[in-house]
């Protein structure tokens, strides 16, 4: 059927492809995050990655909820929708179902995505709609000026928890895996190269891509992730996940993760007892392993896993929806209004 949308798409198809630079993705709006905010890096990496994706900017849409992170769409020179608190995932779901031809990105935060919007997030992940979720995790409510968030650590003293938070935090990666996400990754605002790689992989993944980005809020929660992002502590505290490679870390790559039953443990590869061959080898297609790796996040004695936990092919909701419609049209023919109105039991009055 020729819809008005199809007519527009047909005429847009004749527009010659453009070779973009990152600047093409920068809007004319002044960026208004606090100076020093980790969001600047995420914006820069996203704009850097966009030209490599081969998707025209008019086919790209950024959808956000409410919070500091959710101002993101205003700074991207693509289509954008700054929606309401927690609902970006649902707005984006509707958009992608209506328009599977678009590249849809969701920008959310730990409060927007996991507190008020927790329900939509888990349902998006299980449905596996082909969109990308960037969850900026700064473990604090920034825009409302400093309350604890669903990822804040127990005991955290904030404006709303003067005696320390008694909420047990979510681990976003475990939550996403528990919701049957097909792509789950973690990256760092202060590691631009790693973030670019992860963003590209997320864009390429067919299905919902869930990317948690550790993001420093230098006003209300400064240094929350410094042990994972700063030069002097990073090597000792982060293990980077690479598909097909053993899990090694440490200043001289002298440590690694070995599985003891289902329990990851830190071993040395330099003291002669274990070698690299004894170490756990990452496999991003292994769901069971992804749960074990994500759970390391909650074990202070273990290095923090960063990278792609899981990347699995699974049918997407939008593809299946399109397929059902195509099959129905094939079987019954293009819907005809006159036929519909005259269907079923009818009678004549003369």
């Amino acid at each position: 059927m020729s819809t008005k949308v199809n007519e527009m798409l047909a005429s847009a198809a004749s527009v010659a492809p453009v070779k973009y630079t990152s600047k093409d993705f920068s809007s004319d709006q002044d960026v208004r995050w606090c100076p020093g905010c980790g969001d600047y890096s995420i914006l820069a990496q996203t704009q850097r990655v966009m030209p490599d994706l081969g998707i025209p900017k008019h086919k790209t849409v950024f959808v956000s909820g409410i919070g500091c992170s959710s101002r993101f769409p205003y700074y991207m020179n693509t289509y954008g929708f700054h929606s309401i608190h927690g609902r970006a995932t649902a707005v984006a779901s509707g958009l992608k179902m209506a328009r599977p031809d678009l590249s849809v990105w969701i920008v959310t935060g730990d409060g927007d995505g996991m507190s008020i919007g927790g329900n939509h997030l888990i349902h998006l992940l299980r449905r596996n709609i082909d969109v990308n979720v960037l969850l900026f995790n700064n473990q604090i409510y920034g825009l409302t000026k400093g309350q604890y968030s669903p990822t804040s650590e127990v005991g955290k003293v904030t404006k709303s928890t003067p005696y320390g938070s008694i909420d047990y935090p979510f681990n976003p990666a475990s939550l996403a895996l528990g919701a049957s996400a097909s792509f789950v990754a973690r990256t760092l605002d202060r590691d631009p190269k790693h973030m670019q790689v992860v963003l590209k992989r997320a864009a390429e993944h067919k299905g919902t891509s869930f990317v948690e980005i550790y993001q420093n809020c230098n006003v209300f929660n400064d240094g929350a992730f410094f042990q994972f992002t700063e030069k002097e502590s990073k090597d000792e505290n982060v293990v980077f996940l690479e598909h097909g490679k053993p899990l090694v870390f440490g200043k001289e790559k002298e440590k690694g993760i070995k599985l003891d039953g289902f329990t990851p443990t830190v071993v040395s590869t330099k003291d002669g007892k274990y070698s690299v061959n004894d170490l756990l080898v990452h496999n991003e297609k292994d769901t069971t392993l992804s749960f074990i790796l994500a759970d390391m996040t909650m074990k202070p004695a273990l290095p923090r896993p960063v990278g792609i936990f899981l990347s699995l092919e699974r049918p997407t909701y939008d593809d299946m929806m399109t397929l059902q419609i195509d099959e129905a049209k094939k079987k019954r023919g293009e819907g005809d209004l006159e036929k519909l109105l005259n269907s079923g039991d009818t009678w004549m009055i003369n």
Binding site: M8, H58, G80, S83, A90, S93, G94, L95, A98, L337
Partner: protein, 612 residues
């Protein structure tokens, strides 16, 4: 033996039994067959919220009333002439709605000691002399059903489930209706279960034959076809008509239809209906909650779909914030509120009109939303098209108000020609030159619909206040007031684009009865009767509640009295009084049931006599 046949102009039958007895199915089958015979009709399904409440209990009683005739039928009937009661509880619950001298057909097997106790009867009401003011037909339907099936070796459960077809067969005999439409339906429905197919058909015929051969029924009735407008008809429920209205609107707009919805009584049937029409490009999304229902629709609207969300009052409460967003981003979305009894969970399966003020005012900030209300089951089709037209043309969310009574009720519907329906073709903005997201159409004040995928029109929208023209975020005080006034004016201007209100009856007089929504039939019946008796009464029924037709005030001022019957505490009357400063009075009923015409007639007489 030869039986008497009497002609009737109209009759009302009520089928009542346990919620597991299949009374809704029985009623629906009787309705469809009656429609095929060319009678005018109106139905009222009346069922409990429980799917299968404990057997024999009063709260488990499910009823279905049909009023049909050779005359114009506007309501499901104030009282029934015939009550079919499958057990004691059904008799107790429904006897009050039977006219004096009416007929009762009971399944005597449903009057065991246990049934009587559950129904709270100290003794068998069938033996009580009080029942003699009715014509009582005692039939052991259970036993006769079992006998009809005795050689089939069926489980007692299947036998028991067939007995509603016996009752249906008897009623078909009594009102001289053919069995074939129901037999065809049974064949289709149970094609995979030949045992059940055969047993139901057998029992249906057994019921008919029982009427024909037994001597307890002395009279048969003939109800001739009604003089309806010539044309092709079908029977349609409000929910089905609503669903079809949106399919038609999408076709006429050359857009795909997107429904984001969360199941809720009594709106779910619209979701069920639309989910069948994938070949029409209809996308239905059963969302995780009411909020995702509306926000997914807003997302689809951003993408260029005719986007709708179906719900009932509690769901509207949850969608409220998102509707404010739709007002701010000025995207077309239709919210269908199939109203039910409230507040809170209220009466999920019962009807009410108490969400008008919610639709008008229930949002934070100044957030006007146009409102369209359907008046009859078949009218839901046109109301859906009109709501879509306004949404698409004015780039705005729109409320379509129906209610449980319209949703589940049905009537014969004159099938329109697709070519007679209004053209709703939309024009997306495609020219990059001079594009601004909030540059408005001079006449309608609608902003352009520029959908993602259009080269050169990349822009951002959102819930923060917009700068006039550019749509950029703006905190400027003067701009905010300007935008609030613009959004209000945009909705007000719709009044220039809707038909003027038309009074049924004289344009001037002693009393104007003003209604909206599903009370149309009851008000029309009452006013017609009062006029026939020589009273100076007219009827105005509003389809557009925001904005109202421009001549509404003028009409009101032409009458000495204004009466507003509503199934709420007085919501439209409050609006009319404040907007037009008329001393309108309300007639209010909040029982989860539609008005009876007689209730309105009584009030009309009271007002005309000078009382208020």
């Amino acid at each position: 033996m030869a039986k008497n046949t009497q002609n009737l102009d109209e009759v009302t039958i009520r089928f009542a039994g346990d919620s597991g007895d299949g009374m809704q199915l029985t009623g629906t089958q009787f309705t469809n067959t009656t429609a095929l015979l060319g009678n005018d009709l109106s139905t009222l399904p009346d069922y409990p919220a429980e799917i299968r409440a404990p057997q024999g209990t009063l709260f488990g009683v499910s009823g279905f009333q049909i009023h049909f005739g050779s005359l114009e039928i506007n309501t499901p009937g104030d009282q029934c002439d015939v009550l079919v009661a499958m057990n004691a509880a059904a008799l107790k619950v429904n006897l009050g709605s039977l006219v004096d001298g009416g007929a009762i057909i009971v399944n005597t097997d449903g009057f065991s000691d246990k049934n009587l106790k559950l129904a709270g009867y100290p003794s068998n009401p069938l033996k009580d002399p009080a029942i003699q003011k009715y014509t009582l037909y005692e039939v052991d339907i259970t036993k006769l059903t079992t006998l009809a099936l005795q050689d089939m070796n069926l489980s007692s459960k299947i036998v028991d489930r067939s007995k509603n077809f016996f009752a249906l067969g008897m009623m078909y005999w009594m009102y001289n209706r053919p069995l074939e439409p129901t037999i065809e339906w049974i064949k289709k429905k149970f094609s995979a279960k030949p045992d059940i197919m055969e047993s139901n058909i057998r029992v249906l015929k057994a019921g008919w034959n029982y009427g024909e051969t037994t001597e307890i029924f002395k009279v048969r009735y003939e109800v001739g076809p009604a003089k309806l407008t010539p044309g092709k008809y079908r029977n349609i429920t409000g929910n089905q008509a609503t669903a079809w209205g949106f399919i038609a609107a999408a076709k006429k707009a050359h857009l795909d239809l997107f429904l984001g919805s969360y199941p809720i009584t009594p709106a779910s049937d619209i979701l069920h209906e639309l989910s069948m029409y994938k070949s029409y490009g209809v996308k239905t999304f059963q969302a995780e909650d009411e909020i995702a229902g509306v926000t997914s629709a807003i997302g689809a609207s951003f993408g260029g779909s005719l986007a709708i969300t179906t719900t009932s009052g509690p769901g509207v409460a949850l969608k409220t914030e998102a509707l404010g967003l739709a007002v701010m981003v000025e995207l077309p979305v239709v919210v269908i509120n199939v109203q039910r009894g409230g507040p809170s969970t209220g009466l999920p399966t019962k009807t009410e009109q108490a969400d008008l003020l919610q639709a008008l005012y229930g949002r934070n900030g100044e957030a006007p939303i146009p409102i369209v209300a359907a008046s009859t089951p078949g009218n839901c089709f046109y109301a859906a098209i009109e709501a879509s037209r306004i949404a698409l043309k004015y780039m705005t969310p729109v409320f379509l108000m129906t209610d449980g009574y319209l949703a589940n009720g049905s009537e014969p519907w004159l099938i329109p020609k697709s070519s007679d329906l209004p053209d709703l073709t939309v024009k997306f903005r495609t020219e990059a030159e001079g594009f601004m997201p909030y540059l408005r159409d001079e006449k309608t004040l609608a902003r352009p619909w520029a959908i993602p995928g259009t080269p050169g029109l990349e822009h951002r929208i959102g819930g923060l206040e917009k700068q006039h023209l550019t749509g950029n975020v703006s905190y400027d005080p003067a701009n905010h007031e300007y935008m609030v006034r613009l959004r209000a004016e945009k909705v007000e201007r719709i009044a220039d684009d809707i038909p003027t209100a038309k009074v049924e009856g004289d344009a001037k007089g002693d009393l104007l009865v003003v209604g909206w929504g599903g009370t149309y039939g009851a008000i029309k019946s009452a006013v017609t009767k009062m006029r026939a008796e020589g009273h100076s009464v007219s009827h105005l029924h509003l389809t557009h509640l925001n904005p109202m037709p421009k001549n509404t005030g003028e009409i009101l001022y032409n009458f000495k009295n204004v009466l507003v019957p509503e199934l709420n505490m007085g919501q439209l009357v409050k609006v009319l009084r404040s907007k037009y400063l008329v001393p309108a009075v309300g007639l209010n009923k909040i029982q989860g049931l539609p008005f009876k015409s007689v209730e309105i007639e009584k009030k009309i007489v009271e007002i005309l006599k000078g009382g208020k």
